[in-house]
Symmetry: C2
Subunit: 396 residues, 2 copies
């Protein structure tokens, strides 16, 4: 692990702004691709020297953001700091913000979102619908919570979970001990949620600017498999009034945590149009990748605009329907894609490959978006292009 | 001047393909921004270490492409070589192509286009309409040509001209001597063209793939000032049948030189729908910048697809009208843009800043594209956003 500060930073002379992104994964990469055309110098701080984000800027910094010294020196090189994941502890960022570094989302927003118990408490306090939940400090408290909520319940790590990691569904008291062990109960803070009987999963990207202005993207439906997002359909096909309600919940949720930047809000849709907020991510979000082609201004460009204090662009769809299909690794091996020509031969297929060095089961390695006049046409084409692609060294 | 080969090239392990671009200006940058999402590793060869293209890839090579050794070592690092300008002599590239390096456009195509006399001879031989022209080796031959063509005539440098540099309009025999001196007659090969009485200037981007498949973009109107493109209107508003004829000329012109990749074809439109080919550029072209947002697949992505041997995307417009306004420097000074928030506040404005270190009179520093339902709305908004921006250290 090392930092590289040996190259000059000409960006200071020519850039519209120097945008520092903590984390160098695909979300940093997609943000950089949107910020570069605006004349931004993008600098990524990442432990991995060949991260997807670092691979498209000469000014990346290799270092550990958990080291306050690394973070402070990184902050000194940029005009605004943002992040591509919700795992950077708010407490590490507070001293920077206190010293006058613009950090967006703010450490206060991060503190309200990165711990799921605090997040749900904040949303509930704002009058927003969330599944019943409580913090638990022992297996007995899980049993007590299940007694109140009814089985099944979902046991969750309060922090650091993603793509289903850090979640266990418990169907009966017999499963408590195994779940407690699996999630590190005792040393790792946990919460329990009532199982919420959703019929569909929706998501909304909300970009909120420094002075509270908002861009609210279309309500989409997300299709999950094994807790990983596989498809996004935009717009969601919903009964009258449901989209407006979901958009309103999303706006209120992001405002409740004082969010600045693009946020992803996951919403459950149950019977009779009932809605509950599942989760709020303080960052650009997989459910918004379709916005790169499908919306006038993408979640990524609007994130850059928001954190830099610039006016937001329109989130409206440019075509009636869009479908996004994730490219998920199935095995370990090289991260390059076999079958790209076949995918590009599908009319309208917009292929995004993240340039990850390695494939692995469940890794997000790219995505495909297709716009069309109908949802069916968009989905069929996006799936067809995605099926052409494989990772891990196959020769398909 | 130095080369930097001190960093590893992980792209070989994870990239869909390694695309080498000779030249690091805005055309390389815009091509890189389109090729990166396809998983390409983009490597730029450029003398200037902080070129617009090199500013968004960690793997740029600083060196002089006129040095055959530099070029050969650069070629060894990439899968396909392409170029962002027509000035790299075909003769420098022939040995690489002969040694098996895929170079597109091919040296043969470059040889047919980079010398304007050879280009016009090739187009004329293919039966395509061009203004009358002839090579001239003395002031007397200019006078003789003007005697045949009639005054005025246009005296041009056969090679290396762009944005009006290398062109002089001669209105009478009195102006021959000054024009001859200005363009270096005697040492610099020149040609003379008849002045062609155009009423509008059109342009067409044609992407031609390795096996001859084509994507023909909409015919656009270009608005030039002082021989520099200021605006592009897509699609051009033309009398019945003219667009089809212009597109056909463009296709035939690119085929006539065996073009592979995106080519820009400039076409004069005269009275009664008469057309003549003004010029062919063997590269992505300023008249096609609007395609980034306005077309399903941009000239840049299709250039990458073509030279890499991948299927082409559709060139069709996604909205009825688009307008592109260039951001042209007016004075010397820093290259960053003042007034960006004002430009971004214009609804629908897509702002592209090239990250050039320096502004200067006539330098292309960025562009703005707006899509709309009507041409008027697109132009007004694009001009409004462009007016907000200034370069060279103004504090507007």
């Amino acid at each position: 692990m090392h930092e590289t500060y040996d190259r000059p930073l000409p960006g200071a002379l020519v850039a519209s702004a120097r945008l520092g992104i903590i984390g160098g994964g695909q979300l940093a990469r997609l943000t950089a691709l949107a910020a570069l055309p605006l004349g931004c110098e993008v600098v990524v701080l990442e432990r991995n020297p060949h991260s997807p984000g670092a691979r498209l800027t000469p000014e990346s910094v290799v270092g550990d953001w958990a080291d306050p010294g690394v973070l402070a020196r990184f902050a000194a090189r940029v005009d605004v700091l943002t992040l591509e994941n919700e795992f950077v502890p708010a407490d590490l960022l507070r001293p920077l913000a206190a010293a006058g570094v613009p950090v967006f989302p703010t450490p206060a927003s991060l503190a309200l979102t990165q711990d799921k118990f605090i997040q749900k408490s904040t949303l509930a306090a704002a009058g927003l619908p969330v599944p019943e939940f409580c913090a638990v400090a022992s297996p007995e408290e899980i049993a007590a919570a299940a007694g109140r909520f009814g089985w099944p319940v979902v046991l969750k790590s309060r922090c650091l979970g993603y793509d289903g990691k850090g979640n266990v569904t418990l169907r009966s008291a017999d499963e408590i001990a195994a779940g407690w062990r699996k999630l590190g109960g005792g040393s790792n803070p946990l919460l329990v949620e009532a199982y919420w009987p959703f019929e569909h999963e929706l998501a909304v990207i909300v970009t909120r600017g420094r002075t509270g202005e908002e861009a609210v993207y279309p309500v989409v439906e997300t299709i999950q498999r094994h807790h990983i997002c596989h498809e996004v359909w935009a717009p969601a096909e919903l009964a009258h009034g449901v989209a407006e309600q979901a958009a309103s919940l999303a706006r209120r949720a992001v405002a409740a945590v004082g969010g600045i930047g693009s946020f992803g809000v996951e919403i459950f849709l149950g019977a009779a149009g009932r809605l509950a907020i599942n989760e709020l991510a303080p960052r650009v979000h997989n459910s918004g990748h379709y916005t790169i082609e499908a919306c006038e201004c993408s979640q990524f460009e609007n994130h850059a605009r928001a954190v830099l204090g610039w006016p937001l662009g329109s989130p409206r769809l440019v075509r009636p329907a869009a479908a996004m299909v994730n490219l998920i690794g199935e095995r370990f091996g090289p991260g390059w894609a076999a079958g790209l020509p076949g995918a590009l031969a599908v009319p309208g297929a917009h292929v995004h490959l993240y340039g990850k060095a390695m494939s692995g089961p469940g890794r997000k390695l790219g995505h495909v978006t297709v716009l069309a006049d109908t949802a069916t046409a968009a989905r069929q084409a996006a799936r067809s292009a995605a099926r052409s692609l494989s990772f891990g060294g196959s020769s398909s």
